[in-house]
């Protein structure tokens, strides 16, 4: 066996050559994506739940309902579906995943095996992004033949909103996952954050039918801004820039807090 020829000299450069950051991140992303595809609960929550939501909610309003500012409800809800995906990944999947890895000592194993300090968090960001894009694509592919998709007015801003929204919520998920004591707590806290966000920040009733109090809460929810930053440039009802800025600031702050407080 190769362990038999241990040299007794000082460590050589080859022996202590660091694992390259990019290579480590890519290896982790590949491994994590493969594992996600084997996780039925994640698949159900990230892929199936938003699709069911789409089919139920968008079909619940008649196309001349006037709560949507003149927009066909099934078109109005397209941005909401994507926001539901973003929230499911960031608020539920990522925190539970990270907390479970820490609880089971998987993270310690990565650290002891010489993975660079930030490689796991960077990999999670990439995984969150990839999953958001794939789940969004699947969802639109299901929705298109049923309700038809409205033309995208400003694709660049829509893409920017989806990207920044996915990164911001994945970062928030990493924060939650690193602050809670264990995976069960992460699940509790994640679902507690997810359902109000889902109901008031995207997938629920339109603002026109909300009470004043509900609307005020809705305006404060980060997910509302992700939804609007996607919807306005998609439908061409507004630029969505204000909302995009809020999402960008949210991402910046979340990244900063994450970099300062997250331990592996």
């Amino acid at each position: 066996m190769s362990t038999s020829t241990l040299p007794m000299t000082d460590p050589t450069a080859a022996e202590v050559a660091p694992r390259p950051l990019l290579g480590s991140v890519l290896a982790l992303v590949g491994s994590e994506l493969r594992l996600v595809l084997r996780e039925p609960l994640v698949l159900a929550f990230v892929f199936a739940f938003p699709i069911v939501t789409v089919l139920v909610i968008a079909g619940s309003f008649s196309s001349d309902d006037d709560g949507f500012g003149g927009v066909d409800p099934s078109h109005w809800y397209v941005a909401s579906y994507l926001a539901v995906v973003v929230a499911a990944i960031g608020l539920v999947m990522v925190p539970v995943h990270l907390a479970a890895y820490r609880e089971r000592g998987v993270l310690r194993r990565f650290a002891a095996a010489g993975f660079p300090r930030w490689s796991f968090l960077l990999a999670q960001l990439a995984v969150g992004l990839v999953l958001t894009l794939v789940a969004s694509a699947v969802l639109l592919a299901v929705a298109a033949p049923v309700y038809g998709l409205p033309a995208v007015h400003d694709p660049v801003r829509v893409a920017a909103a989806l990207l920044l929204g996915a990164l911001a919520f994945t970062t928030i998920g990493l924060l939650i996952g690193s602050l809670v004591p264990n995976a069960r707590a992460a699940q509790g806290l994640g679902l507690l954050a997810f359902f109000p966000s889902f109901l008031l920040g995207g997938g629920g009733p339109p603002p026109a039918v909300m009470s004043d109090g509900m609307r005020r809460v809705s305006d404060l929810l980060p997910l509302t801004h992700v939804t609007d930053a996607i919807r306005e440039p998609w439908l061409g009802t507004a630029s969505g820039l204000g909302h995009l800025l809020v999402v960008a600031v949210l991402l910046g702050v979340a990244l900063l807090v994450c970099a300062r407080s997250v331990r592996l």
Partner: protein, 322 residues
């Protein structure tokens, strides 16, 4: 090849809040030896290991691993030292082959040979959750040596395994030993240390209470060998000729006859004389011999009333502290 120190720890101290986990600990691991770090739960073994791997920062004292300070150069240290951390798992759905692919670096050993040597050749596609306890620990051994480290640190590798699985893991560690790998083996199983270790370091409350080969510790702390047997009623009696004769045998320390059960205590060699003597009379059908072992030695060390003394500072007569 035994001799070159790979790890040199001096005066290592680590506290959590006001709880002292490791207290002025000295430890050497030399190239080619298997060193056992023994002690009860909470003795500070894991904390010591984490300081050596640079996963924890000592409060004071010095740690040198292959000329590197783990608190400063932890990344490099962890490339040179393979490890199995206590209570650290892999993702349930990760397969054996995938784990190896993820953890292997540019200097990795040939995987086929490793899987063969550790009895996992047929498990490449088995997910972690479907491995038996013994297979999991053998996979951790493979991962620990995968990138051809200078030494490996194994923390409670056989915790929670059934006896047969523990033996399998021991065999795997013997594979390492035969290959000349340096191992720091943390355990609270004494039979494991006795079977595998060249040298053991016994910890209690964060301090080293003794260190030496298992044989040395047995000699120092395990007490006497005991031979016990029943005598026919007519021969019993504390001052019987039988008892007197046993008392005069080389190495025998004491002989007591209690209601027909004779108990002879002495050094290991005395057992041979006692048994040879018994052959001349009626050979007892209920003969038991208890040899002193590491378990008894460490138990004595860990349960002695006087806790280990920290070396007191030497006071010179004029009051200056040397």
């Amino acid at each position: 090849m035994i001799g070159t120190p790979l790890v040199r720890v001096r005066g290592l101290t680590k506290t959590y809040g006001d709880r002292v986990a490791v207290d002025a600990l000295d430890l050497d691991v030399r190239a080619g030896e298997i060193v056992g770090l023994l002690g009860a739960n909470g003795a500070g073994k894991t904390t010591t290991v984490e300081c050596i791997l640079g996963l924890r920062r000592p409060d004071s004292g010095s740690v040198d691993v292959l000329g590197l300070d783990p608190a400063v150069d932890g990344d490099r240290v962890r490339r040179l030292v393979g490890s199995q951390q206590q209570e650290s798992a892999l993702p349930d759905r990760m397969r054996v082959g995938e784990a190896i692919a993820l953890f292997r670096g540019p200097r990795a050993a040939t995987v086929d040979g490793l899987l063969e040597a550790f009895g996992l050749a047929d498990q490449r596609r088995t997910p972690f959750s479907a491995l038996s306890g013994g297979q999991r620990q053998r996979l951790f051994l493979v991962l620990a040596v995968l990138n051809r480290p200078r030494m490996v640190v194994l923390d409670e590798l056989t915790q929670g395994l059934d006896p047969a699985a523990r033996r399998d893991v021991w065999d795997a560690i013997m594979v390492l030993r035969d290959a000349g790998t340096t191992v720091l083996l943390v355990t609270h199983y004494m039979d494991e240390a006795e079977a595998l270790c060249d040298r053991v370091v016994v910890m209690r409350d964060g301090r080293v209470v003794d260190t030496g080969t298992p044989e040395q510790l047995v000699l120092r702390h395990a007490g006497w060998a005991t031979v016990r047997f029943g005598t026919p009623v007519h021969e019993s009696g504390a001052a019987g000729p039988h008892v007197d004769r046993l008392r005069r045998l080389p190495g025998v320390r004491s002989v007591v006859d209690l209601d027909g059960t004779v108990e002879v205590r002495g050094d290991r060699g005395s057992v041979a004389y006692v048994c040879a003597d018994l052959v001349h009379g009626t050979v007892p059908h209920d003969l038991t011999v208890v040899m002193p072992d590491l378990e008894a030695a460490v138990l004595a060390l860990l349960t002695s009333k006087t806790p280990p003394q920290r070396p007191a500072p030497v006071l010179i007569t004029n009051g200056a502290l040397r």
